[in-house]
């Protein structure tokens, strides 16, 4: 186990020294996706507005008693889209990078960081949209917002670990690309992204309390909505982050040399 950890750390260290490679490739990836469009990367902002706008339009009349609903959905969508994207794209990561893996000696973690960087850039555009929505919804900046920064940071720290775990799942279990894709689509409805939990029972209770995504959403959302630090959600999210990193390091250390035979 220690040998696996050391091997993983070695791969990660090499990848971090090659930060110019994954930064450049991630920027190219984003640029390529929008190169011929008029709006360019601003399309990511438009997509975000479209989704949030739709949910607000459909549900705001139903939940008009909650004046913070727009902010609730806007922040929920921001975090959910980010998590959904990293997980859905991770499962096919090593397959997409097969030519690099079989033709270069770049550490595997370079590909993990390339995807991490891509997702963070995309989330940056969505975040700009989210802040704009918050201001439009009448939310002025409050010091409580700063409590969401540790939450955002924790999610970013967890991102490479989540990508690593799902990338290994994808390379050993190719069907997982479709299974995970479907689960994430369904998962949105079982996660308090656009519905709020007010102590009701039934399936919503379990979907709220036993869903790891709930806590990852709340560490960003609660400080802005309630101006309080979500200590419980932060503690659970920290545990999720730590466990994911442990699994990621073990997988990377144990199987990184075998990936080349599987892609």
């Amino acid at each position: 186990m220690i040998a696996a950890m050391n091997s993983a750390v070695e791969d990660i260290s090499k990848a971090m020294r090659l930060h110019r490679v994954w930064t450049a490739l991630a920027h190219e990836d984003i640029g390529d996706q929008h190169r011929r469009t008029t709006l360019g990367p601003l399309w990511m902002l438009v997509n975000y507005f479209a989704f949030v706008g739709t949910f607000v339009f459909v549900f705001v009349t139903k939940d008009a008693s909650n004046p913070g609903y727009i902010a609730y959905v806007a922040i929920g969508m921001l975090v959910w889209f980010y998590l959904n994207e990293i997980i859905a794209m991770s499962v096919s990561l090593f397959q997409r990078e097969a030519s690099f893996i079989q033709g270069t000696t770049l550490p595997l973690f370079v590909y993990v960081m390339r995807l991490t960087m891509q997702c963070i850039i995309r989330a940056g555009y969505s975040m700009a949209g989210c802040v704009l929505i918050l201001f439009l919804a009448g939310y002025g900046f409050a010091m409580g917002w700063l409590f969401s920064l540790p939450g955002l940071l924790l999610i970013i720290v967890a991102t490479p670990a989540l990508i690593t775990v799902f990338a290994f799942v994808g390379v050993f279990f190719p069907d997982s690309e479709f299974i995970v894709g479907n689960l994430m689509r369904v998962g949105m409805f079982f996660t308090p992204v656009f519905w709020a939990y007010n102590g009701q029972g039934g399936i919503q209770k379990y979907a709220y309390h036993w869903n790891p995504f709930t806590y990852l959403l709340e560490i960003v959302r609660e400080p802005i909505i309630k101006s309080s630090f979500p200590a419980h959600a932060f503690a659970v999210s920290s545990c999720i982050c730590l466990c994911t990193w442990m699994i990621a390091l073990l997988l990377l250390g144990e199987f990184r040399r075998r990936v080349v035979f599987l892609t």
Partner: protein, 245 residues
């Protein structure tokens, strides 16, 4: 001093049966060598007790039929595959020319592709800057260097790929087949570049099916069959005729 030493190097790997919900299929990719069975697991002996030693100035030609283990051996030397047995001792910076098109992006300009390829090859920004004009000049692309790669003709793309991939300062150079690119006039230039590259490198290992090429360019010939060394022979007066390639 540049050197390569392999002692009883073996590469055995399991043919992973990926976990899948679909019916078992027969799509098992092998690297070459022998496919055997250990219990319920299929294993491939891609390299079996390969030993040899090269010193500065050696040019080793790898020959053998398809699936003999030539490319596998090159990838072991480069570090893509980790041997499962034996020991490898390498002194010197290893560069490889396996796939010269790797990393090229259709939407990026030729100039940007040089930067990206340089970064992937481990060059520093200063090295990329230093090599940039030389690569552009060698590729003869002129103003096209600032046009997206996807607009290049096949010949232009090959010229850029070749110019970038061979702008190396290798101590040990690994090649999977000899690389040529472009039209007839560029081919001559490319041949001269490859010769210069070979001269600069302390050691060259070239895998090829072209027996005449191996005999004219290499100083030693290693014949592989089913992952094993069948013979390792000296090629007399090799380098003298390399310029005729």
């Amino acid at each position: 001093m540049t050197s390569i030493k392999l002692e009883n190097v073996s590469l055995i790997y399991r043919l992973f049966e990926k976990l899948t919900l679909s019916a078992p299929d027969k799509r098992k990719g092998a690297l070459g060598g022998n496919i055997g069975r250990s219990g319920r697991t299929q294993i491939v002996q891609a390299l079996d007790n390969v030993s040899f030693e090269l010193k500065a100035g050696d040019r080793l030609g790898l020959v053998g039929p398809n699936g003999a283990g030539k490319t596998t051996l090159l990838k072991v030397l480069y570090g893509i595959y980790q041997p499962s047995g034996g020991a490898i001792f390498i002194k010197g910076k290893v560069d490889a020319l396996f796939n010269i098109n790797i990393g090229f992006r259709p939407e990026a300009t030729g100039r940007r592709n040089i930067v990206l390829r340089g970064l992937i090859s481990g060059w520093t920004e200063a090295e990329i800057e230093r090599k940039m004009e030389e690569i552009i000049e060698f590729s003869e692309l002129g103003d096209f260097i600032d046009v997206p790669f996807k607009a290049y003709s096949q010949g232009m793309a090959a010229r850029l790929a070749f110019s970038t991939a061979t702008a190396l300062d290798p101590e040990i150079l690994l090649m999977d087949e000899w690389i040529g690119a472009g039209d007839a006039s560029f081919q001559d230039k490319a041949k001269r570049r490859m010769d210069e590259l070979a001269e600069k490198a302390g050691i060259i290992v070239l895998a090829s099916h072209d027996a005449a090429l191996i005999d004219s360019f290499c100083t030693r010939k290693l014949t592989l069959r089913n992952g094993r060394v069948e013979s390792l022979t000296e090629i007399p007066e090799a380098a003298s005729s390399s310029s005729e390639l």
